[in-house]
């Protein structure tokens, strides 16, 4: 059984990570836990705050096993324990009205809508450009080297500029973020789609020629279906890039709405639990989006008879 073959090891690894996380939280948060315990009148070993400041977290943790529980229940810990993050996620999703500004669902929706709109635009334009590149030699030779080179440069660096410039001409909200998302998903789609549209071999093209197929018939009946596996591979890269683009696009405007804003306000005010819960929300969102694309891929390839 392949399912149980991977399930047990994966569960073990995940459990090991969670256990390590709890352990790591002890030395990370022990300084503050000891300070509060001392103020409450308890005895802590070294009872001098200055000495403690100079000591490492692990040494303090070993000497004060009584305060371990405290390190997992602080308000603003350096490293929140897993259950605190889960509780915060539960608090801000299920227990809040979804239109409230405290709701992660609301912030997630703001980010998600920009991601999806941008992804749709980027993918659409990318496919169009790829079709042009495959059919026109001049376009291929002019544009393709730049499209490939653009993948090696950190495009994300222009995100703040796009946001601020569009803001200064009066465009704000969803559109600037969507543009960044579109830009980030555009190039992977172009490169993958060009590869895909060229993937049929010479024999198959020859066959269509013997059928006297026109250019558009070749495109619809051979090139486009053959490109599907390549397209989905780049869509998975593209949607993840789009999400990162939307999140980074939320940073420079002072951060009001969206998951990126949650990250930034969390870091301004030292709300570590909020940062971690926003981080997990982005992770869940990313995993969900990739899973949706992967599901569509499996369905399509299965219907086309391309699935392995």
């Amino acid at each position: 059984m392949p399912m149980t073959r991977t399930l047990l090891p994966v569960l073990t690894v995940v459990l090991a990570i969670v256990a390590f996380w709890y352990l790591a939280a002890i030395p990370m948060n022990i300084h503050f836990a000891l300070t509060t315990a001392e103020r409450a009148g308890e005895v802590v070993t070294p009872d001098d705050a200055a000495t403690r400041r100079g000591m490492g977290g692990i040494a303090l943790a070993v000497q004060n096993p009584g305060q371990w529980a405290d390190t997992w229940a602080q308000d603003k810990p350096r490293l929140p324990a897993p259950h605190q993050v889960v509780a915060e996620l539960w608090q801000t999703t299920v227990m809040q009205n979804v239109t409230s500004k405290r709701s992660l669902v609301y912030h997630g929706w703001v980010t998600l809508s920009a991601t999806v709109v941008g992804f749709a635009i980027g993918t659409g334009l990318g496919i169009l450009l790829a079709i042009g590149i495959v059919h026109f030699r001049a376009m291929d030779m002019s544009v393709m080297p730049w499209a490939i080179a653009s993948q090696t440069i950190p495009i994300l660096a222009i995100a703040p500029m796009i946001i601020v410039v569009l803001n200064s001409v009066g465009v704000q909200g969803l559109v600037p973020k969507a543009i960044i998302s579109a830009y980030l998903s555009f190039f992977p789609v172009v490169v993958g789609m060009v590869k895909g549209l060229r993937s049929p071999d010479a024999m198959q093209f020859d066959l269509l020629k013997t059928y006297n197929a026109s250019r558009s018939e070749t495109f619809w009946k051979l090139r486009l279906p053959a490109s599907a596996p390549y397209l989905f591979a780049s869509l998975k890269v593209g949607i993840a890039a789009s999400l990162v683009g939307a999140i980074v696009g939320e940073l420079p405007t002072g951060a009001i709405r969206g998951l990126g804003a949650r990250l930034l306000t969390g870091s301004y005010y030292g709300q570590t639990v909020q940062i971690w819960s926003a981080l997990f929300a982005t992770a869940i969102l990313a995993a969900g989006l990739v899973a949706i694309v992967a599901g569509a891929e499996r369905l399509t390839l299965k219907r086309m008879g391309l699935a392995r």
Partner: protein, 281 residues
């Protein structure tokens, strides 16, 4: 207005030239293959200049290329300091640590089948997540200087590298491993002489992906707090001051550094994996 018309005429002329070149007899030659994208890029650049001047686009929206180049030549020392802080310290430092850590973990994972089956799915899952989001946490832990940026880069490159190295180390056939066994090769001999070389194409694939990720991580992490130096810092503060020519100057530097980084990795790849079909010419 004349400039706008000039731009359009230039576009038409250059495009005709490119179509001629691309469909001409010598289209396959190396010179033409380099010349066509060069002409295209140059045309875009000149059109940008002409349109910005012709339509009087304000500098706070889009500066002309000449303004950007002029700013770059003026701000040389600043750009160099930023480059050192972000690229040499943050990106390269994190890249080296992350790749080394991934390599050591991969060797450990590779020896235990149970570990491999557990870590590979988790690793490829984490590799798809937006890890830049950890930047605010790491900035809080490691302070504003380049150490926190290197930490972000380590996290960003670790999982793609790990997945690629582990997958690469699996990429030998039973026959090859059996041959090593008949030679009475020890684990490390088999590792160094068969499996590591066979893994190289995968490893370099990971190294190339990671080179881009390292640049992104180092720059974006600076948006969450940095000393008053660094490319990400300069971009975010210059955007705030609306001096977009400086922002573009930093972006040019980032683009050059990014493609040079990638190019160096690709060059080493060609040296190391010369035997691989994808490197044949």
């Amino acid at each position: 207005m004349i400039l706008v018309i000039a731009a359009l005429i230039l576009w038409a002329l250059m495009w005709t030239l490119n179509v001629r070149l691309a469909n001409g007899d010598s289209a396959g030659s190396r010179t033409v293959q380099l010349l066509v994208p060069f002409i295209f890029g140059l045309t875009l650049l000149v059109m940008w200049e002409l349109l910005v001047r012709g339509l009087r686009v304000p500098t706070v929206v889009l500066p002309a290329p000449s303004v950007i180049v002029e700013r770059m030549s003026r701000e040389g020392p600043t750009l160099w300091v930023d480059f050192q802080q972000t690229f040499l310290k943050g990106a390269l430092g994190g890249y080296a640590i992350g790749v080394t850590a991934a390599f050591l973990t991969a060797i450990l994972v590779d020896r235990f089948d149970f570990l491999r089956r557990g870590i590979l799915p988790v690793g490829s899952f984490v590799a798809a997540l937006p890890i830049v989001g950890t930047a605010p946490i790491l900035v809080m832990w490691y302070g504003f200087d380049w150490h926190s940026k290197a930490a972000v880069v380590v996290l960003m490159v670790f999982f793609p590298m790990l997945v690629n190295i582990v997958a690469g180390l699996q990429d030998t056939s039973q026959m090859q491993r059996d041959l090593m066994k008949t030679y009475a090769a020890s684990y490390w001999q088999g590792f160094l002489k068969l499996r590591l070389p066979a893994a190289m194409p995968f490893i370099f694939n990971g190294l190339k992906i990671s080179s881009t990720l390292a640049m992104i991580g180092a720059i974006v992490a600076e948006f969450f707090g940095s000393p008053i130096v660094g490319m990400g810092f300069r971009i975010s503060t210059s955007v705030g001051q609306l001096s977009l020519d400086m922002v573009w100057a930093e972006i040019v530097v980032a683009a050059l550094a990014g493609s040079a980084f990638y190019g160096v990795v690709a060059l080493i790849e060609r040296r190391v994996t010369f035997w691989h079909p994808s490197q044949r010419r």
